[in-house]
Amino acid sequence: MNRRYLITALLALAPFALCQDEPLPKAETILDHYVEVTGGKAAYDKRTNEIAYGTLEFKAQGLKGAVTRYSAAPAQEYLVMEIEGVGKLESGMDHGVVWEKNVMLGPRIKSGAERAQSLREGTFNASVYWRDQYPKVETTGAEMLDGELCYKVVLTPKEGNPETMYFQKKSGLAVKITTVAVSQMGDIPFEVVSSDYKTFGGVSMPTKITQKAGGQEFTITINDVKTNQPLPADRFEPPAEIKALLSKAAEKK
């Protein structure tokens, strides 16, 4: 029992000691360092597209599925998840049109802050181009996460809610993001925990990503990532239902 108290006391002291002894690094330095430790700008820039294959699991609900994400420069994406009992959930973006479609809620086109948020997340090699996305970045502190000291960086986008990222001091890797996500159903506190970094096509990326939002928690495990693959020309084209909604919106205008 005493030992636990001692550890707790040490954990509590750690950030304080850091604040006393060394100044916090600038957010710009931390973000650029992240690019370096995950492969460097040159490695990122060699990649023009990517296909990631993985699985996802809602452990508490007992739901499992497969996930495949196609993405390409500058900001094209097609994500498809097949979940047992839920069916196919698709989302994508192409030429500024951001959409999603699933069996339950049907097709829809995103707009406003939700669209801006998706475009930020869907920008290819977004880590390199953070300056284009976030006019303001700031290191706000340091804290222990899973026994590692992490710098806390708040990134404020042009549109939408600020995001707080946690970077390990030792490795420079991003291990957690918290934000209030903008969704059609409302603003929802959102937490993403990333781990198990592996290198694919010269760039290191997390292969275990756990997301918590609205009382739900699910984990995505990336099994393989292929880069610079030949992709069909219509890979990122919205499905017919989305095109029908676009036509309907155009008619109303």
């Binding site: 739901l63 009992g85 839920v86 059609q184 929802i188 506190p189 939002a213 029908a244």
Partner: protein, 421 residues
């Protein structure tokens, strides 16, 4: 003689125990139950200060009373009083005996294919599954179920109806559970037929109507979806908002095939709900205006708006939704939201008033404990919980009508659509 004396001593001890309160084990069980109830509300209620109360102060106030309770009944009454302070529905303690009455003795996947409702205190057959054992045995809508396997239903219905904590949904479930059992087993059901003559049928139970649907950790459940037309009016009925892919696809196809119909009827009678999101998806086939909501669900850390995504082509004709006291949860969210938006006319009787995601758990003392984890406000600004959806047109089923082959609720909806034409 010695035995007699021992027995007398035992009787005196028992008498003393009843006079002086619970045994230490019973007291511990009640304290553990109290702690379980209090902690659950503290950790899972959608408000950080449940019901606007100082929940820690509630603990300090009620724990000594539980410790001093002289009987199980008193302890349960104290816990009920504590939950009553919340002034919110869907929080209740069900004494073990009542809980057992609701659960019944049936259970299993076998069904006789009989749908019943308690009408004027009697379990009346309202529908029969096509090809079911009951239909094959000649059972008819309007017959009254008197007993199952020699055990009369009347006293159970009377007992449950007299308990204010038991709502209609639980009552119907209590009756239904007695008409189920293991597939292949036989139940002996005594009825009153159309002429009020007692008749008995031995019914060999078969699998329930529908296809077994799986959704994560939920137990597999039979889900049916039917779609047909009455003249040029579309009609869909499904027993649960589950089996997402099949039911959503079936609903979409039914609406797409009915774009030029005079009207569209969605029969949610007996539908206890399921996946809430399906209500939004279905509404997208019926609502053309963007940015509409069915309502909002309030969780501890977030508010979830039940937003409708209009499809590229939607049905714009009259929509009627049929409900009754067994229409609950997602059924109420769907019916209440479309009513509030002025998009559907509701026919039948008041819904179950059980819209919240609530959980039933057994307490250490054996009692049942129900609690809600979110609040839901329909688009009209009213909570559905404890109030339910009040139909625009109240129509009650009657035994006489059923015996005459009429479904008064469906008839009223068809008549309204005919007049709107």
């Amino acid at each position: 003689m010695k035995n007699t004396r021992s027995l007398r001593k035992l009787a005196l001890l028992l008498l003393a125990a009843s006079l002086f309160g619970q045994t230490p084990a019973e007291k511990q069980s009640q304290i553990a139950s109290f702690e379980k109830v209090w902690t659950t509300i503290r950790d899972k209620h959608w408000q950080r200060n449940p019901g606007g109360l100082d929940w820690q102060a509630i603990h300090s106030e009620f724990l000594p009373r539980i410790e001093a309770a002289k009987s199980d009944e008193e302890a349960v009454a104290i816990m009920r009083e504590m939950l009553g302070r919340l002034k919110q529905t869907h929080f209740g303690i069900f004494p073990a005996a009542v809980y057992n009455d609701v659960e019944g003795e049936g259970g299993g996947d076998g069904s006789a294919g009989i749908d019943t409702r308690v009408l004027e205190g009697k379990a009346v057959v309202t529908d029969l599954d096509p090809g079911s054992p009951a239909e094959k045995a000649g059972v008819k809508p309007g017959w009254v179920v008197i007993s199952v396997n020699g055990k009369p239903l009347g006293p159970v219905i009377e007992k449950l109806k007299s308990d204010p904590e038991i709502h209609e949904l639980a009552l119907e479930r209590a009756v239904h559970s007695r008409l189920t059992g293991l597939v292949g087993s036989t139940i002996k059901v005594a009825f009153l037929d159309a002429a009020n003559t007692p008749v008995t049928r031995d019914l060999e139970l078969t699998t329930e109507r529908g296809q077994m649907a799986r959704f994560g950790n939920l137990p597999p459940m039979p889900v049916f979806f039917e779609s047909k037309k009455f003249g040029n009016t579309g009609y869909v009925r499904f027993n649960m908002f589950l089996d997402l892919v099949r039911v959503m696809s079936g609903f979409g196809t039914a609406v797409e095939n009915c774009m030029k119909c005079d009207g569209f009827i969605i029969d949610l009678r007996g539908n206890p709900g399921g996946i809430g999101g399906m209500a939004m998806g279905m509404a997208g086939w019926l609502v053309d205006k963007p940015d509409q909501r069915l309502g909002a669900m309030y969780l501890r850390d977030a508010t979830l708006n039940f937003v409708i995504n209009p499809r590229a082509e939607v049905f714009t004709g009259p929509v009627a939704i049929l409900v009754d006291g067994s229409s609950a949860s997602t059924s109420e969210i769907f019916a209440g939201g479309l009513k509030d938006l002025g998009r559907a006319r509701i026919f039948g009787t008041k819904t179950a008033a059980a819209a919240l995601p609530s959980i039933f758990e057994r307490l250490p003392n054996g009692d049942g404990f129900q609690y809600a984890t979110a609040n839901y406000i329909s688009e009209g600004g009213k909570a559905l919980e404890g109030i339910g959806v009040t139909p625009d047109v109240e129509v009650k089923l009657t035994r006489e009508g059923l015996l005459a082959g009429h479904d008064a609720v469906l008839d009223a909806a068809l008549e309204w659509i005919r007049k709107k034409k």
